[in-house]
């Protein structure tokens, strides 16, 4: 049997659409991402300020403004190291 160009296009499009993540997938990865960013800051290359901004945007329990300059670099209140 010979496939047509239409068969090719349709198969490719169906295959692409078949792997769309759900909103649950997106939120689950976001939660894990947030957890890793907060729990393992060294993996972010020491970019503490940007990390804190990210946490503020992504996290419901984000640090307050004054938390952005803690006396001990790399330590966030309530954050496990």
């Amino acid at each position: 049997m010979t496939a047509t160009e239409l068969d090719v296009d349709r198969t490719l499009e169906l295959a692409r659409c078949a792997r769309e993540p759900s909103s649950v997938d997106e939120q689950r990865v976001l939660d894990r991402l947030r957890s890793r960013i907060v729990d393992a800051p060294e993996q972010l290359g020491g970019r503490r300020v940007r990390r804190l901004h990210l946490v503020r945007i992504l996290g419901e329990d984000a640090p307050t403004h004054k938390d952005e300059a803690p006396p001990m670099a790399g330590l966030l209140p309530g954050v496990r190291r």
């Binding site: 049997m1 010979t2 496939a3 160009e5 068969d7 090719v8 349709r10 198969t11 490719l12 499009e13 169906l14 295959a15 692409r16 659409c17 078949a18 792997r19 769309e20 993540p21 759900s22 997938d25 997106e26 689950r28 990865v29 976001l30 894990r32 991402l33 890793r36 960013i37 993996q43 972010l44 290359g45 970019r47 300020v49 940007r50 901004h53 990210l54 503020r56 945007i57 992504l58």
Partner: protein, 196 residues
């Protein structure tokens, strides 16, 4: 300039003034990128052979890299090209790690964990599995070209940048890959019946 959802699949966006952004702006851009391109990275990793049970880890790794490198993104390439490159490297690293552990990564079509919508899912799953079987016959570079250009519809120029090839090579390989896939699909349809 604003990022557009990858579902719109139009020409890509570039970040404005990457060298002068503040931390807050960067965080906003990251959040917007995540919202608009999460699906793209998820799909690409799946097509590059990351199985469902490690897909979360791989996608997470991609976005950690994006977060780390975003301040240095100079906008020389389109965002999807850049993200594809990050995803490609993450997929390759995961493959190598798995290979070192002598585990099989994914020559078998991955199984979806998503809840089904019967007819649509059936068609989509069949197409997905067919494409995965074909992809499993390709080497890493050709697989990347196929995913980048034929599945995700990045342009030849974007594909060339994402795969570090020249454009003429990409054009040649895309034509050859499409033809190979057409022949291969014809055999599949002959063996298994109707198209997906």
């Amino acid at each position: 300039m604003q990022a557009m959802p990858d579902s719109k699949r139009s020409s890509d966006v570039k970040l404005d003034e990457p060298r002068t952004r503040g931390a807050s702006t960067e965080a906003l851009e990251f959040a917007r990128l995540y919202e608009n391109y999460f699906s793209f990275t998820w799909r690409v990793l799946g097509h590059l052979g990351i199985p469902d049970h490690t897909l979360d880890d791989a996608v997470q790794e991609v976005w950690l890299v994006v977060h780390r490198r975003l301040p240095n993104f100079e906008g020389r390439s389109a965002l999807r090209t850049w993200l594809f490159g990050v995803a490609f490297n993450v997929a390759r690293n995961q493959r190598r790690a798995v290979s070192r552990r002598r585990e099989q990564l994914t020559d078998e079509p991955p199984h979806s964990d998503s809840p089904p919508d019967p007819e649509q899912i059936r068609e989509g799953s069949e197409a997905w599995e067919r494409v995965q079987r074909f992809l499993s016959t390709l080497d890493e570079q050709r697989r990347a070209i196929f995913v980048c250009n034929l599945l995700e519809n990045l342009s030849a120029l974007e594909t060339a940048r994402a795969t570090s090839l020249d454009v003429s090579t990409v054009y040649q390989r895309v034509r050859a890959l499409r033809q190979s896939f057409k022949v291969w699909l014809g055999r599949e349809l002959g063996e298994f019946g109707e198209p997906a």
